[in-house]
């Protein structure tokens, strides 16, 4: 079994090399086919690893350099179900995006396939890496491929600007991560996650550990688009081609959160476990801030991809809250939420791609009513939007229900209403856009929404059935996450194992396998009444606010005037903060890191 571990990375890298080498020699379609086969192979082996890892955590040491006397001298790939699951999501979405691009970007420049393969393969490598420097290398490889993909359509200055903002913000984050890694190495002399954690265990956190924690967490949160580190994300999404956006929102941001989870539970938990509540307080605050901010910003957009990008930011905030609660249920909830969100959001972006191909526009107001010609796309768009609100037993609901349960067990039950509101508001924004485009509801002018640069379609003659098939498949998979029998329990088990540092150390350093866990029952777990009520609440907020967004002019002036004066100035400030200038973004990153580090320094050393 261990032989399969490197394959989700090796296959796409080889396929990418073949695509590039065969450029100008192979016929166009053969090159594309190599790409798709490579992506499919990576996905297939990711699934094999995922299934195998549910029994035991799988481990392979490259070159046979196994640990000697509890010192890891080699580099390992470690597949636990959480990591293998993220690898499967990454390679699966990469495959779907490449199938979509087959028709959507038929005449794209040649490196496109290679870049997509590198992107997917590097994400899988990150999810499976058991070595912190190896994680950094995959992180950077994934980053470089993503920057190039974001700036792919160089016809306007807008895409280039978005790609530069993206590249610079994330590179600053990468250097923060590298500095954190260097500090950990200085303290422990190790780069293997299990060994770093093992060396730190039992020591009270000192200045160095706190600085390393801050740099690593904030560096990964830049990738995860958590406010105030999120500013690059909307720019990158606004300019990237739709299938690339599907990967950005579906899984790239998830990689950032996986980085935080992995580092905390294999490394920092060893030292910080007694003060976990202080770590939690800071991260929960960041998550809630992000969830609300992202939802509000989503509501102010008319450029569809930017709107969806802000909704992604909001969902990342929700997931960060769940991860930050630091319990098994909530971490499982975050994983379920991100799985459903990734599939649904990817399908929504692919719907946007279809609109772009058909109408050569991606602007909610310019598309007003035009979508009536595409009822099927409208149906998919609407279903995707409403499934993100947490309607009971649909889409992201499973994640929300697990988070509710975890938060209640932790005694922090004030977070659920906030998360419900955030999910409702960002869903409302998508529903409003969908109703305006596909039903022609509401006016075709709305001064509330930010104007955006136009975008032109890459391919006007794309094959519609192919695009619809890929989009529909992702949508259906996303919708059924909440009712897939046994999935919730399995994800919780995976989360529990990702949190078990002692078992991880035993597996990696001592080659000691735990007995296989009992197989969870194959059944849909009933959820609590509270969760159902929160789900219904989120849905009502989504539908109500979407209608209010469309028809707010019909509200009596008595209601509108105070609302306008109360909400206008803060919204203006928010808009100004999202300035589109990369220097400002890096300034926010610096301030955010300083605040997070300062708070932790105060709380954790006390």
């Amino acid at each position: 079994m261990t032989w399969a571990l490197p394959l989700p990375v090796v296959i796409p890298l080889i396929a990418a090399a073949l695509c590039t080498a065969g450029d100008h020699v192979l016929p166009r379609r053969l090159g594309d086919a190599i790409g798709v086969v490579g992506a499919a192979g990576a996905f297939a082996f990711s699934l094999v690893i995922l299934v195998a890892s549910e029994e035991h955590t799988r481990l392979t040491w490259f070159g046979g350099w196994t640990p000697r006397g509890h010192a890891a001298i080699g580099i390992a790939f470690v597949a636990d179900p959480l990591g293998a699951g993220v690898a499967a999501l990454a390679t699966g979405l990469a495959l779907a995006s490449m199938l979509y691009s087959w028709s959507f970007l038929r005449h794209a420049a040649r490196p496109y396939d290679s870049l997509m393969l590198l992107f997917g393969g590097a994400m899988a490598g990150f999810a499976l890496a058991g070595d912190i420097f190896n994680m950094f290398v995959w992180f950077e490889l994934m980053g470089v491929a993503a920057y190039a993909l974001a700036g792919f359509e160089i016809k306007h200055v807008g895409p280039i600007q978005g790609a530069i903002n993206f590249a610079v913000s994330n590179t600053v984050g990468a250097y923060m991560i590298l500095t954190g890694i260097a500090l950990l190495y200085a303290r422990t002399g190790a780069l293997n996650l299990a060994q770093i954690g093992h060396s730190l265990a039992g020591h009270k956190p000192d200045g160095l550990v706190i600085v390393a924690l801050t740099l690593l967490v904030c560096g990964f949160l830049i990738k995860a688009a958590i406010a105030p580190f999120h500013l690059w994300l909307a720019d990158a999404h606004a300019v990237a081609p739709a299938p690339v956006c599907a990967l950005f929102s579906g899984v790239m941001v998830v990689i950032g959160l996986l980085g935080v989870t992995r580092c905390y539970w294999t490394v920092f938990d060893a030292s910080l476990a007694p003060q976990a509540h202080d770590v939690r307080a800071v991260l929960v605050a960041l998550g809630i801030f992000t969830a609300v901010l992202g939802a509000v910003m989503a509501f102010l957009q008319r450029h569809l991809k930017r709107l969806l990008a802000y909704s992604t930011i909001s969902h990342m905030g929700i997931a960060l809250v769940a991860i930050a609660l630091l319990d098994e249920k909530s971490l499982g909830g975050a994983a379920s939420l991100l799985l459903a969100h990734g599939l649904l959001k990817a399908s929504l972006f692919l719907c946007c791609g279809i609109l772009l191909v058909r109408f050569d526009a991606i602007d909610e107001l310019r598309l007003h009513g035009k979508g009536r010609a595409l009822p099927l796309v409208g149906l998919m768009f609407g279903l995707g939007a409403i499934a993100l609100a947490g309607v009971p037993y649909v889409g992201t609901y499973l994640g929300h229900a697990q988070i509710d349960e975890g938060a209640t067990l932790d005694g922090i039950d004030w977070v659920q209403p906030l998360l419900m509101i955030a999910a409702g508001v960002s869903s409302a924004a998508i529903l409003r856009a969908g109703a305006r485009i596909f039903l022609g509801w509401g006016p075709a002018r709305d001064p509330l929404l930010s104007p955006e640069p136009p975008e032109s379609a890459p391919e006007r003659s794309a094959s519609m059935p192919a695009l619809l098939a890929v989009t529909g498949t992702l949508l259906v998979l996303g919708l059924v996450v909440s009712v897939a029998p046994g999935l919730g329990q399995r994800i919780e088990q995976a989360a529990g194992r990702a949190r078990d540092r002692i078992a991880y150390v035993d597996r990696v350093l001592r080659d000691h396998e735990r007995p296989a866990p009992p197989r969870p029952p194959v059944a849909v777990e009933p959820t609590t009444t509270d969760s159902v009520l929160y789900g219904i609440g989120g849905t009502l907020i989504a539908v109500g606010l979407a209608l209010a967004g469309l028809y707010r002019r019909r509200l009596p002036e008595l209601v509108r005037a105070p609302l306008r004066s109360a909400l206008g100035p803060p919204l203006q400030v928010l808009r100004l903060a999202h300035s589109g200038v990369v220097g400002d973004y890096v300034a926010w990153i610096t301030v955010g890191t300083a605040v997070v580090g300062g708070l932790w320094a105060l709380l954790l050393r006390g």
Binding site: F133, V137, E140, L141, G143, V144, Y147, A148, G151, I154, H156, V157, G158, I160, Q161, G162, A163, I164, A167, V168, T171, V172, A174, Y175, L178, T179, I181, A182, L183, Y185, A186, L191, A234, D235, A238, V239, L300, R306, S450, E452, P453, R575, L576, H578, S579, G580, V581, V582, G583, D584, V586, A587, T590
Partner: protein
């Protein structure tokens, strides 16, 4: 072990950050990014330094000879390789901005905000 290399690394990092935040020229911005990156080299090499240690080349050297830590040098090399790609990409994008907009000032090519 002297604190000087660590202080210099922190200073170089902050200088680079300041440059990125205030930059009005994309080429300058890319170079500031490399300045910030240099701080990671300094930090890594300072961590691996051993007083009196020779280079970590063990061919023809007596067993047990002190040497500096080879791991951080490998990390530094990897870091250089990875970052060169990023910088090359950013410079290429800056070139494209200049072709399209005739300027490399990030404040002047602002098409997206809010």
């Amino acid at each position: 072990m002297s604190f000087l290399p660590y202080a210099v690394a922190a200073w170089v990092c902050l200088v680079g950050l300041y440059g990125i935040v205030t930059s009005r020229n994309l080429i300058h911005l890319a170079l500031c990014l490399t300045v910030m990156q240099s701080s990671t080299y300094l930090l890594l090499l300072a961590i691996g330094y051993v007083k009196g240690g020779g280079p970590p080349i063990f061919k023809g050297v007596k067993l047990g000879t002190t040497s500096v830590d080879p791991v951080v040098q490998a990390l530094t090399l990897t870091d250089i390789v990875v970052s060169v790609t990023v910088i090359a990409l950013i410079l290429a994008l800056a070139l494209d901005v200049h072709k399209q907009a005739g300027t490399v000032d990030p404040d002047e090519v602002r098409e997206m905000s809010g």
